[in-house]
Amino acid sequence: MAASPPERRHRQQLRPGSRPGLLRGDERAAYLLLLPAFLGLALFRVYPILAAAAGSLYRQIFSATGPSTVFVGLGNFAVLLHDPVFWHALWVTLKLNVILNPMQVVLALLLALMVDGRSRAMGAYRVLLLVPIGVSLPVATILWRLMLDPNSGFVNALLGFVGLPHQPFYTSSGQALWSIMLIANWKGLSYWMVFVLAGLQSIPGELLEAAAIDGASGLQRLFRVTLPLLRRPLTFVLVADTVINFVMFVPMYLLTRGGPSGSTNVLMYQAYKVGFAFGDMGGALAIVTVLLAIILAVVAVQFRLLEAGRQAW
């Protein structure tokens, strides 16, 4: 992608800077072209991040004279520190992410290895796996709610058919989080697989052939050649997946309402409840601020990792 040296020199000769007048006009054109997009990004993407942090310092007070907002400093965070429900929600969020994210990276890699191939049959098979990309997470959750219905669901019908006992799935605190992970995998794995597959298909075949001729076994080729070359897509998948899973909301809202007994009460669902069911926007924004801090830290680490990887090449 990078321009070769002679090309680059050529470009430098053509730099508008060498022709006074052009640069200033072009710069104005650039800002004009960027204006609509950045108005939207500033208003609907950047401002809400700052507004969440600022709003977390206020609390709504409902008095005889009507609702009013008062500055409470870090008061909302102090409340969180002493709130066992918050700590439990943080624990559930971390548990979900620590189990689910590596699981999705590994399964997406396995799927990509399975469907990597240039034959027509493999192309058709890949299309089957892409079906969940067109199914929204709410639809996926509602369908799996019926699939996993403890009384008359499809999965329990199958279990009964092969003589296994029925399972409570999302209605038990022991299985609810796992049921949600199952749904997240169904909905998400093929999407993440696409990134890994693209990485796989960009590995030159000669590289693997050379390793094979040198006597490397299939597993050795996977771990010594393929995986190191997949570092970039795998890093991206892990980070993008983590960022999304940290604010997972839909399955908790549609399937478990955070239960049973708080076993699926993640931070995003807790923030929604605090804000819209309890009417405590300051408290909700304090939780959102914690989530945004985690997300921005993860994104920053990713930029570091990918930047470092680029230099290493």
Binding site: Y31, L34, G40, P132, Y253
Partner: protein, 292 residues
């Protein structure tokens, strides 16, 4: 002795290879079934009379996946009692309005990043990238307050406006336009063409693949959006498909055939777009993650 042993090894190896192949075939079939069966079951169930849906599961009967006497009753109820035509039109309007405005807005920005030199380029590009990485769910609650202050809650504008500027779409356009040699536009520039002319005459005619990829991205984002319409809109006349489905599931949780029918409809539209255009969509999402 030697030949006997090697003969046994060849036989064992052949049997092993056969077993391995059978095991692999079973694994491939199981994976495909896992991904396809839920939606297939929804489609079959949406065409089955309600009492039959439960009857086919206790005990399990393959007619659960292939209705013997298909009926459109569930769809009739959806469009009759639950006004799903309105819901589908709402969602299509919101999604298409976002695509139309979003392609222009993000395309212009992508062009500027790919072709023009200006101060602050790197910082602005990083802002666009980071904004693309922060999931919409994380911003929904502060956005609710902002849109409330703007007086836009419960309107089409509340659903459309926040989704138009999309950092990922900007990025897709930038990546695509950056492949076009910049010397061509510099030559046109020296001949006195304005940047708008260069964009419209040179770049737009080449940009069908990225337009499809970014358009699908924006469309699917709006079609599948849930938390934002859940909190930003409460009038029935603005209800979009994912919310209608969630309401149906909460108010009529035993009406499985209607839930199946609504799920089928909600999935049909994106699938009919994504499957024929998957090449563009996949290229788009891949360039966001791999080339980065």
């Amino acid at each position: 002795m030697v030949s006997g042993r090697s003969g046994r090894t060849v036989g064992a190896r052949r049997a092993g290879r056969w077993l391995g192949r059978a095991g692999l075939a079973v694994a491939y079939a199981a994976v495909a079934l896992f991904f396809v069966v839920p939606l297939w079951w929804a489609l079959a169930g949406s065409l089955t009379p309600l009492d039959r849906v439960f009857a086919h599961l206790a005990p399990f009967d393959l007619r659960a996946l292939w209705p013997a006497h298909p009926t459109l009753e569930a769809y009739r109820q959806l469009f009759g009692r639950h006004a799903f035509a309105r819901v589908l039109l709402n969602t299509a309007f919101v999604a298409l309005a976002t695509v139309a405005t979003g392609l222009v807005v993000n395309g212009l920005a992508g062009f500027a990043f790919a072709v023009l030199r200006f101060r602050g380029k790197r910082v602005l590009f990083v802002i666009a990238l980071v904004s693309a990485m922060v999931p919409a769910e994380a911003l929904a609650i502060p956005l609710f307050q902002l849109v409330g202050q703007l007086g836009l809650l419960d309107s089409y504008a509340a659903l459309i406006a926040p989704a138009v500027s999309n950092g990922m779409a900007v990025f897709l356009f930038r990546q695509f336009f950056a492949e076009i040699p910049v010397e061509i536009s510099e030559a046109a520039r020296i001949d006195g063409a304005s940047w708008l002319t260069i964009l419209l005459r040179l770049y737009v005619p080449l940009s069908l693949p990225v337009t499809i990829a970014a358009g699908l991205l924006l469309f699917v984002f709006q079609w599948e959006s849930f938390l934002w319409p859940l909190i930003a809109v409460h009038s029935q006349r603005y209800t979009v498909i994912q919310i209608a489905l969630s309401n149906l599931q909460q108010q009529h949780s035993t009406q499985w055939t209607q839930i199946f029918a609504a799920s089928t409809l909600a999935s049909l539209v994106p699938l009919l777009l994504l499957l024929p255009l998957q090449r563009f969509y996949v290229q788009g999402i891949v360039s966001s993650g791999v080339k980065g």
